[in-house]
């Protein structure tokens, strides 16, 4: 089959590789109909997630048709149309039973590696380095889906692929970012980053009852999407100082909750500040540039919640713990526990509360994956989300 493989920093190639096979009884094989490039794939592309190997198949947002099942999979039939969540989770361990699917204790065969890096293991993740298990990803024609009796959700309505594909990651990730804020009536929520996760965090904050949502980015086209599609008020941080704007917009209180949806490759409007962290990151003295996170913490209303949906791989510098401690801020974060949200969010889509396809700006053939990565990385041609079709 053809598959998008990591070929070194800033390089992906579409190669021919063997077709996946059932390795365990609870596996299924899915013939992929749509697959997307995620912002977190760019961290792999840029070489900031350790433990990548040349030839690793990328991709953790995919859906398709079940074409083979292991003996232990009784809930899926051949021909079923499914969306596959990015965390690979057993559904039985203490983490899974508490709904913490991305912390599954059994699905990462490289758990010792993860334990050395993070102190304990995470779940396995499709196409997301060997620290999360070394599983082949879904930017391919087929994928092997372990624990297929627990993860994939059947789509039985006639919704288009693009309306349900993002259940695999970015919609639930944005939703969890907003849910972690425990939004109360009257709350103002600020969202740093207007990529796909940011857009869904904005939309979700409204669905969860936020009074107002303020979105922060530097790309006018992304801010425009946040205004027009997700309904946010916006701040372009290259044109206005964020702190003053937020204070002004909230009557001096600051946003009640802040969602950080930018992650470890954030930008800073001051070239000196940007260069400082960029150099430290390049020298691997820190693995993340955390301007958005620092700003979210500094600007959050006292007693509020800072919810981190952006991805971090290791260590950051100048973490403002003083602001957090002295102003009683709550920090909440985590890789999304997607399985927990699949059903309720599919219900929302079916009800017409939200149509997630609004983020799609680029549709390409799988064979153009390399072009897709470049376009997305450099935000060319007003790119927000690339969907690939095998």
């Amino acid at each position: 089959m053809r598959a998008t493989v990591w070929a070194g920093r800033n390089k992906v190639e579409v190669e021919n590789v063997p077709d996946p096979k059932i390795l365990n009884e609870r596996d299924a094989i899915v013939k992929i109909s749509s697959t997307a490039i995620c912002g977190s794939d760019l961290h792999l592309y840029d070489g900031y997630i350790p433990a990548m190997r040349k030839g690793d198949i990328l991709g953790h947002e995919f859906m398709g048709e079940v074409v083979e099942t292991g003996r232990g999979v009784s809930n899926l039939k051949l021909g079923d149309r499914v969306v596959v969540p990015f965390p690979i989770s057993c559904g039985y361990c203490n983490a899974c039973t508490r709904g913490l699917f991305s912390l599954c204790e059994n699905s990462n065969p490289n758990a010792s590696l993860a334990e050395k890096t993070y102190g304990d293991t995470t779940c396995g993740i499709f196409g997301y380095s060997h620290i999360t298990g070394g599983y082949a990803g879904g930017q391919a024609e087929y994928a092997r889906v372990p624990f297929a009796d627990v993860g994939p959700i059947k789509i039985e309505s006639d919704l288009e692929d693009e309306q349900v594909l993002f259940l695999s990651d970015v919609f639930p990730t944005g939703w969890m970012g907003a849910e972690m804020c425990d939004i109360q009536p009257g709350d103002v929520v600020a969202v740093w980053g207007c990529g796909p996760v940011g857009q869904f965090a904005i939309a979700s904050a409204y669905l969860l009852g936020a009074e107002r949502v303020i979105a922060i980015d530097r790309f006018e086209y992304r801010l425009k999407m946040a205004r027009e599609k997700a309904g946010a008020e916006t701040i372009n941080y290259e044109q206005q100082p964020v702190r003053e704007a937020l204070r002004e917009m909230t009557g001096g209180r600051g946003p009640d909750h802040c969602i950080e949806a930018a992650g470890m490759e954030a930008h800073h409007h001051n070239p000196g500040m940007y260069a400082y962290d960029r150099v430290k990151q390049a020298a691997r003295m820190e693995t993340g540039r955390s301007y958005a996170l620092r700003e979210a913490i500094f600007n959050c209303r006292s007693g509020g919640t800072v919810s981190i949906s952006g991805v971090y791989g290791g260590f950051i510098d100048k973490f403002p713990i003083g602001a957090i401690m002295n102003r009683s801020l709550t920090i909440k974060t985590g890789q999304c526990h997607v399985q927990r949200y699949l059903r309720p969010l599919l219900q929302r889509i079916e009800n017409g509360d939200i149509d997630p396809s609004f983020i799609v700006t680029h549709r390409m053939s799988l064979d153009d994956a390399s072009n897709g990565y470049e376009t997305f990385k450099h935000k060319q041609d007003e790119c927000v989300k690339v969907v690939l079709t095998p």
């Binding site: 598959a3 493989v5 590789v17 063997p18 077709d19 996946p20 096979k21 059932i22 390795l23 365990n24 009884e25 609870r26 596996d27 433990a51 190997r53 040349k54 030839g55 690793d56 198949i57 083979e68 099942t69 292991g70 003996r71 232990g72 690979i88 057993c90 039985y92 361990c93 203490n94 039973t97 204790e105 059994n106 699905s107 990462n108 065969p109 490289n110 758990a111 010792s112 590696l113 334990e115 304990d120 293991t121 396995g124 196409g127 060997h130 298990g133 070394g134 599983y135 082949a136 990803g137 092997r144 372990p146 624990f147």
Partner: protein, 324 residues
């Protein structure tokens, strides 16, 4: 989820060089801080306020390295800090030689001395790093502890563990365990280069639902013993499985072979074994990926294969027949 500790008996002769380097750090650092001018003159660099300040800073760094080497059980990181410090000193001396050295011969001699120290630091750093990676001296014993919490009651876990013949399902280095009597069993482990190591063992304590202990019988090339205990985990989370293993590593070539077999990364190996046990009990299968088709395996984690599907012959090589 898992906790581990590892102890070796016998003295730590390999740490003597580290201690020597620690004393050297103090011997160098204290005069540098207290009498920077004299040290400047001794090594033939210009003695002014700026160079004294620099000398004091270098001295403080040396003292810090000395304190670090003596105060930590594993001085490895501090030895590597010394390597970095030596490199910095060589750069400083190099720039002194180029520009402001009053007595180039003395500066050159100092450069030679630092280069010597760098060599000693490198030798020691490499050796300590290697030994920290888990290699063991023949003639010592290795004791390993690890624990994992499994979401099943303890009677069930006890029963799985009491059936020694199933150990090879989750213990990576075991090839076969066969029962030879009510309390006796014969064990066969994979050795390096396709060799096998075999021994007989007996159960020394058996408290149903609570604990099993065993030890190798006389004649085993590698004397070993183990205990597994089952303790209810708080809050209905299942059972804590605590395991303790002890290996006596004999001397001679057999010892070297055995040390390699049990000793490459014994801590990670036993932890991986417990994870596989938990996977089988909780999920009915061993988690396998394309990068790690054999499942949790220490060797594989250090050297994963690319995460794309395996060809049929590679699957057979990884011992996978398919589950469909």
């Amino acid at each position: 989820m898992t906790a581990i500790s590892k102890t070796t008996n016998g003295g730590p002769p390999h740490e003597n060089l580290a201690k020597g380097l620690g004393i050297f750090s103090f011997a160098l650092g204290i005069p540098q801080v207290l009498a920077p001018g004299r040290v400047n003159r001794m090594i033939g660099v210009r003695d002014d306020a700026k160079s004294r300040m620099l000398m004091r800073a270098v001295g403080l760094r040396e003292i810090a390295a000395g304190v670090g080497i003596f105060s930590r059980r594993h001085p490895t990181e501090w030895i590597w800090a010394r390597v970095a410090g030596d490199t910095m000193d060589l750069a400083l001396l190099g720039s002194a030689l180029r520009s402001k050295s009053r007595q180039p011969a003395r500066t050159l001699a100092a450069t030679g001395a630092v280069a010597g120290a760098l060599a000693a630091d490198l030798v020691d750093g490499l050796r300590l790093s290697r030994s920290q990676d888990g290699q063991h001296e023949p003639g010592s014993s290795v004791q390993l502890k690890a624990a994992i919490t499994v979401r099943r009651d303890r009677d069930e876990l006890y029963a799985s563990w009491r059936d020694f013949e199933r150990f090879p399902d989750f213990m990576a280095h075991l090839e076969e365990v066969s029962s030879t009597g009510p309390d006796r069993s014969h064990w066969k482990a994979k050795g390096p280069l396709g060799t096998d190591v075999e021994w007989d063992a007996e159960i020394t304590e058996d408290v149903p639902g609570e604990r099993i202990s065993w030890r190798s019988l006389e004649g085993a090339k590698v004397e070993n013993s183990g205990t597994v205990r089952f303790i209810p985990a708080p809050g209905n989370q299942g059972t804590e499985v605590h395991i303790e293993l002890r290996y006596e590593i004999p001397g001679g070539s057999v010892g070297a072979l055995i040390a390699k077999l049990f000793g490459e990364e014994p801590a990670m190996q036993i932890k991986d074994d417990l994870r596989r046990f938990k996977q089988i009990v909780e999920t009915g299968e061993i988690a396998r990926s394309d990068g790690a088709p054999e499942g949790q395996l220490n060797k594989r984690q250090l050297k994963p294969r690319p995460a794309h599907p395996l060809a049929d012959d590679e699957l057979a090589g990884a011992g996978i027949g398919g589950g469909s």
